[in-house]
Structure formats: C-alpha cells, structure tokens
Amino acid sequence: MSAFIAIALTLVAVAAVVVVMTDDPARQAVSLSVYGVLLAVLFMALTAPDVALSQIGVGTAIVPLMVMLAIRKMRDRS
C-alpha cells in the first residue's frame, strides 16, 4: 500500500472526527464540504474516478448547501 493512500486514509479519519465534533450546524456544513473533498482525493487514490466524480458534486456542493438552507430556515423562524 503506497504512502499516498495511507496519508489520504489518515486525513479522512481525522476529518471525520472534526466534522462530528463540530457542534454548530452552520460550521459543520463547511467542514462537511472539506471532508467531501478529502474523500474525493481518497477515492482518486484508490483508482475510482467515477466515484470521485460523484462525491465531488454531491458531498462538496449539494449536501452542504441543503444543510445551510435548512439552518437558515430554522433561524428565520425562531
């Protein structure tokens, strides 16, 4: 197993802990986006270009955007 894959795996594990330990959901949307990019890098290292393409579009752009919109809706209401 190459060093690059080992580093990518470690970064993903650390980023997962960071996302889970971020308590404010608005900040969590940003760290989720960074986690999505790191996950896409890991998928590329594991020679899975199709999966990395899906992950970049979905995990980096769409899900954090929906999380931020949901939070904004709740903040307007309260």
Partner: protein, 248 residues
C-alpha cells in the same frame, strides 16, 4: 433516557460492535490483493457487450434492474421533500428584498463557469459508455452548475432561468423513460432492459447498445431531482416566512 445514559450505553454497545467488526476485518484478503472474482466476470461481460466503461456497463446493462430501483428511491425522496416543504397555512410568501453584497470577482467567476459546467455535465452524460461518467455523475454536475446562477446573480435571476415545473416534469419523464426502455428491450431483444440499439465497436461513442439511452434517461432524472430539491429548500429559506416577519 438522559443524554449521558445514552452515551454510556453507546460506549458499551459500540465497543462490542467495534470488536466484532475488527475481528471480521482481520479475516478479509489483505488490502490490494489480486483475487477479485466479480472483476473477472464483469470485465468479460462488458467487453462482450462492447462497452469501454465497465462501471457504466454494470449500472446500465448487466445490473440495470438495480438502477431502476435506485431511480425509484430518488423519485420517492424528491416527492417526499416536495410534500414536506410546502408552505404551511400560517406562512406567507413574499419577494426577497435586496441581494446582499457580492464581489465582482465572484460574479464573474460564476457567469464564466456556468456554461462550462453545464456543458461538461452534458458531455459526461453523453459519453457515459466510454469515459468515466454516466447519468448519475453528469446529472449532478448539470444540476449544480445551474445553481451557479444563484451564487453569481440573484435569486430572481435563478427563478427566471430555472422553471421548476419543467424540472418536476423532467424527473417523471426520466424515470418513466427508464421503465419504457426496459419494456422496449423486452420487445426487441427478449429480456427486460435488453439492448434496442446495435452494439457497435469497442470504444466508439455510439456503442454498447442501450447504455447511452439509459444513461441519458438517468442524467435527465438526476439533474431534475437536484434542481427540484434545491428549489424547495431555496423557496423555503428565501421566500417563505411565518408570523409575518420580514426576511431578506
């Protein structure tokens, strides 16, 4: 159950699950091994069907029935979101006032990249059978690219450029087209979701039978699903307020 009791119970149960998973994982073939029976079988089948992208061949040809199930999950989730995010009786809609401050460079980058991103998405969908890509990835890229207009412009510009009714229709058409292709395949080739187009040469754009058409159907559905989902959330967050409060 209080929060600390819940956490304590999870630490015990999670520890047991972790121990079981680690024991199971230690028995797997080591990471990077060369024994992959499904790889040998699907590679042979994809080359026989003249498809260069083996993953698209699995999704739209060898296991196309599973993709039909996934499309149905997509359709059901979007219907669920549309129903849940309807404005309630005590809420009113109103036009958003003002746009907020926007850097000129952001506006330029957004306007520059919108046609490029949409074009890349359409190319990814169309070349699903030969290059990395396919309906799912290309649909996500197109759906996200359209919303660069919201980032670079204003919500009103996005509303004019993106008809939600057409997106809802497009989603239903995409899912229905997939099922109809299945029936057409049953009539033309004798099996549900069989090939209706000729197989062509390995590596050509118009090869591998029905993979191109199914990829386009899925691309239309996924792009429309992304547009409808983001439209519902944006509508709720930007335009709908409760208790008669102002929102910008």
């Amino acid at each position: 159950m209080t929060r600390s009791a819940r956490i304590a119970m999870f630490l015990v149960a999670g520890g047991c699950v972790a121990a079981l998973l680690v024991l199971g994982v230690l028995d797997l073939p080591h990471f990077g091994s060369a024994v992959h029976p499904y790889r040998d079988a699907s590679l042979a089948a994809a080359v026989a069907h003249k498809t260069s992208n083996v993953i698209s061949s699995i999704n739209f040809d060898l296991r196309a029935l599973d993709t039909l199930g996934e499309e149905t999950i997509l359709l059901a989730s979007v219907i669920g979101v549309t129903v849940l995010l309807r404005p309630a009786d005590d809420e009113e809609e109103h036009r958003p006032v003002g746009e907020g401050r926007l850097l000129d460079s952001t506006r330029m980058v957004g306007y520059l990249f919108l046609p490029i991103t949409v074009m890349i998405g359409l190319l990814t969908v169309a070349h699903g059978a030969v290059t990395p890509g396919g309906g799912f990835q290309g649909g996500v890229v197109v759906g996200t690219g359209i919303h660069l207009l919201y980032v670079a412009g204003s919500y009103r510009a996005l509303e004019r450029a993106r008809p939600v009714g057409a997106a809802e229709l497009g989603e239903a058409v995409g899912a229905g087209a997939f099922a109809c292709m299945g029936i057409a395949g049953a009539l033309a080739a004798g099996s549900f979701l069989g090939d209706v187009l000729p197989l062509g040469a390995f590596g050509d754009l118009f090869s591998s039978g029905s993979v191109l058409l199914l990829s386009v159907a899925v691309g239309v559905e996924v792009a429309s699903a992304v547009v409808v989902l983001l439209a519902q959330f944006l509508h709720q967050a930007v335009e709908v307020t409760g208790d008669g409060k102002e929102s910008a």
